[in-house]
Structure formats: structure tokens, C-alpha cells
Amino acid sequence: MTAVAILGATQTKHSKSRSDANYMELAFEVVTKLLEETGVKHSEIDTVITASSDFWDGRTISDIAVQDAVGAAGKSASKVSMDGAFSLVYASARISSGAFKNCLVVGHGKASEGQARKIANAAFDPHYQRPLGIDDHGALGLQARAYLQEKNLSPEMLAETAAQSAHCYAKNPYSHRTTNWTSEAIQKSQLIADPLHELEIAPDSDGACAMLLCNEKEAQKRETSSIWLDGFGFATDVHSLGDRHLGKPSILSQVSQQAFRRAGVQDYREIDIAEVHDASSAQTLMWKEDMGLQNHSHLLWNPSGGAMGAQPGFATGLVRVAEVYQRLKKGAARTGLAHGMTGFVGQAHCVWVLRRR
């Protein structure tokens, strides 16, 4: 892959419901803000990749809804039907091929318009698992229990971890959840899928995120130092819940190693900041271990609060990249890691390593 830089990234203030905006208006918000901040005009954007879920949107070919908002009409554009972090792979490929000098990436999700648990149930295989009525929360519960047993940890650990996330998302102006919940309050929240309580599970949010990528030549025209997408890794694991041990390391281990290798990261301590899509507080712990970062004492981990603060569907991973980008840009760190996933208990993972140069 050739050098690909991020010129800008914007996100909505994620919330429980954006009933005031249809999808065109939601995407329009983040794209307009992005173009204002970067000073790039619609006419200067070469190509667009969007990320959205047909099931979540209740709309087959869900990308049609945002075509004019992202300025895709008349341009070459496409879509990745997975979390936005994966769409950055396709966007980078388009730039790397030399066919396009920049690429706008927009991800959106509105959990409020559909029935999230029923939609999640539709993702399990129709023969053996869907008839059980299992949904994403149930699967997360299974995973959390398997993890606690595997590591011989008490459920209180989940609440403490969720409280650490809350401490961060309470300071995040874009977060859906805004309260600095204590571990006690979290354990008192409704039990959803044992051992997980409501506040130990990421919320269902409405939101969008937009990002502008460009090639090296375009980045060099800017006077400020750039943030580079230095390395990626992604892979899909087995589908059926019983085909792997949900409490043991996931394919994220392999994926993060790929990203490190591609980015030339020799030692995990080079990573200053990491943002992961943690759909539960068990995952907040698991993903850190899967990437070999559990002993990294000065790692800034999910400073935004992660997905525990906001989970706007397929925009969630893109928001992780945006959060790392913003912090690198401000000079808070030099090397960052951003993670996205598709599939509830982490069947498919995608990791990006970003650097400021």
C-alpha cells in the first residue's frame, strides 16, 4: 500500500435518537463540517466509500440514502457493508491504486429506527442458533461469562472496567452516554444477559462519522504535519458461536500483529494511544489482552470512552479512527491504534496503526 494520510475527521454528537434527521441530513452534518474544517470542496473529492448496514437502516442498498449528502452523484463511489474501519481498507486501496488522489469515507448508523435486538438475531445462522432467540446481548453475555471463567475473574471486574470507561466518556463531548457512573451504580443497573448489566454493554446509538483520506502528494501540499494510516490488518473468524472458545484470545491477536508488521511497529510500547470497539466491558479487557497490550503501563486506552460511550452502528470503528486521529493531530501522542469490528462477539476485526509525521 502506498502512503495514505488522513486530512480530517468529524463525527456527530451521538445519541439515543436523532428523530430530527433522516439519513441524508445525518450524513450531511458530518460531511459539511469536514469540508469546512479541511477547506476541501465537493468538486475536489475524487471518490467516496460509505459504510452502512441495510438491516439497521431498514433499507436495502442503504447507501442510496446518503448519495447526495456525500456528493457521490456523478462520481465513482462504492460501499463496504461492514464497520467503517473496514471501509478504510477499500478507501486506501482506491488511493493506492493511483486512480484517485483522495477519498471521502462516511459511516452512519441509527439504532433508534429499527428493532436492534431482532436485527441482531437475524445475524445468527438460521438453522441452529437463530431459532434459540439469541441476540447480540445474549452472545455478549456468553462471551463475558466464558472470559471470567477462563481468567478466574469476578464479575465485579466488569463493573470496574465499565466505570473506567464511564470516567472517560463523561468527558467526551460526542458521547451518547454522558454520566460518570460508579462501579456500584453500574452493578445496580438492569441485568441484561448474565453476567452483563446494562451499563456494562455498549449502548445502541444514532450517529455518523466522516473522514477524508488522501495520497502523499496531496498531504505534502498542507503545511501542517500529517497523520498517516501506516498499517492495517483485518480478518474474519469462524461464524458459529460454538466453533471457538469465546473466552480465549480471538482473531484480533492475528489481526493486530498484521497491522504492527505492516506499520513497522517493533515493540508494543511504541503505541501511545489505542481506541477499540468494545461492545461490552468484558471486551474492553479482552481486546487489550488479544493485542498484547495488557502490560503497557503508559498506554492511553480508550480515552474517548470507546464504544461503551457510543455505538452508532457501522460508524463505530470509524469513530475510533477519528478519535485517535484527533489526539495525534493535537500532539497528544505520536503512534496510535484504532480498532473496529463486525459481528457481535468479535468475529471480524480490523486494526489500523496511525502515526503523526
Partner: protein, 151 residues
């Protein structure tokens, strides 16, 4: 060998936000008004109103009212049975719909036509929106488009 099949149909309901512009349009229908969005930069006027201009992709910054008269630009008589995702039952057929361009606008609006004899329809004919007596701020406050001042 008997091949088993699992019959599953996700019964999902959705609540689609009309958005700011859509809400204005639907509220307008209740008053028998056709609202359009206008881009002062490109001078585009579009129905239904929406935030993104189809010319510059910038914000359509004005809402204007357009008359209910329009020009017919395409039509089709739908005669085959299919399940309507709205109602969950087969949509009543045959029905006719077309593309009409409201006077003073720059795009087409897709809606039902009262005339089901397509030999009586020709592109370029003048049509008029016919409203229901009782209106609720929904798209079907418009009953259909009929021929207007037979051309």
C-alpha cells in the same frame, strides 16, 4: 434425499425519521401546500424538499411553496402482484404512477395518477395534484395527479 429448509422471516418494524425537510413537506400537505427546497447558490428548486442540493451538494437554504400543477414526464401501469413491504399484504393492482414536474421546480416527483388507461396519457400533459378532504400530514394526503385542463 429430503432437503430440509428452515423458514424464517424476520418480522421487523422500522420508524423512519422524515427529517427536518421532510417534516416541513408533510406538514405542508396537511394545508394543501406543496413545499420545495431551494438552493440560492444554484437556483435549484426541488420536490420533495431535502437538505442536499443535487447540483452543488451544498445546503438547500430556503423552503418555497410551488403550485400543485405539474407536467407529466413518464408513467407506467403496474399490473403484477407483489408483497408490499409497508402493509405486509399484496399491493392492490393495477395502479398507475408517473413522474411529474411541478411548475417552477427542477426535478421530478413520483406519484400515483388517477388515469389507468395509459393510451390516454402522453408525456408533456399538464397534471394537477388532487388532495384528500381529510388530511393527516402524510404523503397520501395527495390522492393522485389528474389531467388538468385537457391538453
Amino acid at each position: 434425499m429430503n432437503h430440509h429448509a428452515v423458514h424464517l422471516k424476520p418480522e421487523l418494524t422500522y420508524q423512519y425519521a422524515a427529517g427536518r425537510y421532510g417534516s416541513i413537506f408533510l406538514a405542508g400537505l396537511k394545508e394543501k401546500k406543496i413545499c420545495a427546497s431551494h438552493c440560492t447558490k444554484c437556483k435549484r428548486t426541488l420536490v420533495p424538499p431535502r437538505i442536499a442540493c443535487t447540483s452543488c451538494f451544498g445546503k438547500m437554504d430556503k423552503i418555497v411553496e410551488v403550485p400543485p400543477t405539474a407536467t407529466l414526464l413518464a408513467f407506467t401501469l403496474v399490473s403484477f402482484p407483489f408483497l408490499d413491504p409497508f402493509t405486509g399484504v399484496k399491493r392492490p393492482i393495477p395502479y398507475c404512477y408517473g413522474m411529474v414536474q411541478f411548475e417552477g421546480t427542477d426535478n421530478n416527483f413520483q406519484y400515483f395518477l388517477s388515469e389507468k388507461n395509459t393510451s390516454k396519457l402522453k408525456l408533456g400533459m399538464k397534471m394537477i395534484a388532487v388532495f384528500k378532504e381529510a388530511r393527516n400530514g402524510r404523503l397520501d394526503d395527495i390522492l393522485y395527479f389528474s389531467l388538468h385542463n385537457r391538453s
